[in-house]
């Protein structure tokens, strides 16, 4: 797993956004390099929601940001409606910015505390002088109304709103400039479950109302499954598995996908947490990622081949692709406990008999 490849991409003409072999690296101390994203390819059809899932440090946020060229990738191609974004001049790219918006994880810190809600939502429109002042005001009122914030309260500042309401305001700000694509970077991770449900439903409504295309980044597979039409599971800058949510959930092919699924706490006391299925250890450093398959250090199925040869995405089902030399058979059970902990933390399988 944790490989590259383009087998999962659809026809050139079909996709609105097509990302190929995206590489993002950052310089680190001592001449080392952070390999944040190493060869991600994905495509999104108009009106679709693409879910990017993985642990912290898997490069999902970096991928989202590289799509909107913040910062531009080291190499690879990002084509939006046929336009190659990586090749654009700064000014041309700037003109495209209203079409590409982002929503961030922390709703409170992503809003300027010293400005009023109306100014925050209207900023993009003001910069681009969309219509006249009255029509801009009408647009702000409309989007605020759409996200469930009373425009009468638009004179207030962010601290007067709750976290869930601030996230609504962030959504209103993103929608105001009539974007084609919104990158949602963990938009519900900081919220209570009850508010999380409201925001997920709201995003769905906004999608229907404004015909949006979304990239939805999250670490919770249950949330991603709910919102997405297609899911990319990422690990340490590489792709593990790509497919539609139903297939990936029904039959995870990648051992890492299975681990992510097993980690979700189900609200059902009859399903006692099974520590044998818990993925041990931590994601390795992106300064020196493992050779071959990057997941091999935590994978119970790893063989010598995994250290030598990087797996490439291949089709396992009509709508499911996996980058693994030894994908899971249906109903195959994995025991993570020993491998993960033994291999990466240096304890030899002791203390793992939690039941």
């Amino acid at each position: 797993m944790a490989g590259t490849g383009t087998a999962h991409l659809r026809g050139e003409g079909e996709a609105m956004l097509r990302v190929e072999d995206l590489v993002v690296e950052f310089p680190a101390r001592n001449g080392m390099t952070v390999h944040a994203v190493s060869g991600i390819s994905l495509d999104i059809v108009e009106g679709e929601t693409m879910g990017l899932v993985g642990e912290s440090g898997c490069g999902k946020s970096t991928t989202g940001r590289a799509i909107v060229q913040l910062p531009p990738p080291v190499s690879g191609s990002v084509r939006l409606d046929g336009t190659e974004l990586t090749a654009l001049e700064d000014e041309t790219l700037r003109k495209l910015r209203p079409r590409l918006q982002m929503i961030f994880q922390d709703p409170i810190s992503s809003l300027n505390p010293r400005r009023r809600v109306r100014e925050i939502v209207s900023e993009g429109l003001d910069i681009w002088r969309v219509g006249d002042k009255a029509s801009r005001k009408a647009r702000v009122d409309e989007v605020l109304e759409a996200v469930g914030i009373d425009p009468a309260n638009a004179g207030r500042r962010p601290h007067e709103f709750s976290g869930g309401q601030c996230q609504r305001i962030s959504i209103a700000r993103a929608v105001a400039t009539e974007p084609k694509l919104i990158i949602c970077d963990e938009p519900v991770s900081a919220l209570d479950v009850s508010v999380q449900a409201q925001i997920i439903n709201l995003l769905q409504d906004m999608k229907d109302r404004y015909g949006l295309t979304l990239v939805f980044i999250a670490h919770d597979l249950a949330v991603v499954k709910n919102v997405s039409d297609r899911i990319v599971v990422m690990y340490l800058g590489k792709m593990c598995e790509v497919g539609d949510p139903e297939s990936i959930y029904e039959r995870p092919s990648h051992p890492y996908t299975a681990a992510l699924l097993a980690a979700i706490p189900e609200p059902d006391p009859s399903q006692r947490p099974d520590s044998q299925k818990v993925l041990g250890g931590e994601i390795p450093s992106p300064l020196a990622p493992p050779s071959g398959c990057r997941f091999r250090t935590r994978c119970p199925k790893a063989q010598e081949r995994c250290a030598v040869e990087e797996p490439v995405l291949r089709k396992v089902d009509s709508n499911q692709f996996v980058a693994c030399h030894f994908p899971l058979e249906p109903d195959e059970e994995l025991e993570f406990a020993k491998v993960g902990i033994g291999a990466t933390i240096g304890l030899d399988g002791d203390g793992t008999d939690l039941d």
Binding site: S56, S194, I264, P269
Partner: protein, 362 residues
């Protein structure tokens, strides 16, 4: 019911008895009734899950029990018996004997709850040296074995590092090591995994469960996610607006919940088994203002079962079965509840939908 662990001799004794605890804050806006009459007990080695939304008082309750609240404008009433001693009257100086040694706490954000300019080792040995009469060298050794027991690789190296050199999951393990250093009998874990990834969350929760069993320690696990406590708590208390609105053994709470709020919390969690794009059930609106809470049932303005009686008269705690308490006039799963829900739906969703839409825009 596990009898493994160190405290076998005193197993199943009552450890904590909280009776009608109130915690109010006097502010410029008026008195904020953060915790308003909470009663529960906790036996040695057991886990109580406290569940509720932000602002329901779950954090204030745990800090009130530990005596960790700012004193200014604080009103604290009721009785908190810890092994027979009432903690409410104790001064900070007396409480110091309890903090760390008898009861300790793990917080949500592992970065801000560790001292950023103190080495990991010092943060662990600090309380060991305070409470246990041991040499510096012994404390060091103890700290190293604690780090190993929370599965931190290369503990002797980590002891000399600062918190920023560790990942979030590792930092939370250090917090657990600090909390366990003096062998407390009671551990409060306040949203211990909310800031962590799902995979790391599972690791940390497993680790806490293992340590709890080995030490025969009681735990209060505070979270907004019913999924987190479902497989891990012996008993669950659901809090709303400063009160316990339902409390039962975990299996009974899930199989036979009575309180519409519990039902609503549960149904708002996205389930893996649902198809994608399944519309999630939400709880409209927000929890009430604790300065001026609604007159009757505090949940009435957001409740799908609400009737006139709910708005006028607050339901008392009632017993569904031994150990299962709830606060509702029209409980889930009863004929009255069913009628109330149906009446609301028929009555035209005019009221119900309006209430919904209105609440959403608040």
């Amino acid at each position: 019911m596990s009898t493994t662990g160190l405290g076998g001799a005193t197993s199943n004794g009552r450890l904590l008895e909280v009776t009608d605890v109130k915690t109010y804050f006097e502010t410029d806006r008026g008195v904020v009734k953060s915790v308003d009459g909470v009663t529960f007990t906790l036996d040695r080695g057991k886990t109580l899950g406290i569940v509720g939304e932000s602002g329901c008082g779950k954090t204030v309750l745990s800090r009130s029990i530990m005596g960790l609240l700012p004193k200014r404008g604080l009103v604290r009433e009721g009785a908190i018996q810890f092994e027979g001693t009432d903690l409410i009257g104790l001064s900070d100086k007396d409480m110091r004997e309890y903090w760390g040694a008898q009861m300790s706490m793990i917080f949500q954000d592992p970065m801000t709850s560790l001292n950023p300019v103190m080495k990991i080792g010092k943060q662990i040995t600090e309380s060991i040296r305070q409470h246990l009469d041991v040499t510096k060298e012994f404390a060091q050794e103890l700290a190293e074995s604690l780090l190993a027991s929370v599965r931190i690789p290369e503990p002797q190296v980590r002891l000399k590092e600062y918190p920023h050199q560790l990942s979030g999951g590792m930092r939370q393990r250090v917090c657990i090591a600090v909390a366990l250093a003096c062998g407390p009998k009671l551990l409060f874990a306040d949203e211990p995994t909310t800031a962590l990834d799902v995979t790391v969350q599972a690791q940390v929760l497993d680790l806490m469960a293992q340590q709890q069993r080995e030490r025969f320690m009681a735990m209060v696990l505070i979270t907004h996610d019913l999924g987190v406590v479902a497989g891990r708590a012996d008993e669950i208390a659901v809090m709303y607006a400063g009160r316990i609105v339902e409390k039962a053994k975990t299996s009974e709470l899930f199989s036979d919940m009575k309180m519409p709020y519990t039902e609503a919390l549960l149904s708002s969690i996205p389930k893996l088994a649902d198809h994608s794009h399944t519309r999630l059930a939400t709880i409209p609106g927000r929890p009430p203002d604790l300065v001026n809470p609604p007159l009757g049932c505090k949940f009435a303005p957001r409740c799908a079962y609400v009737q006139d009686r709910c708005r006028e008269e607050e339901p008392p705690l009632q017993l569904a079965s031994p150990g299962h308490e709830y606060r509702c006039w029209f409980p889930v799963g009863t004929p009255e509840g069913k009628d109330a829900f149906e009446r609301n739906r028929r009555a035209g969703d005019v009221v119900a939908t309006a209430a919904l839409a209105q609440a959403e825009t608040v």
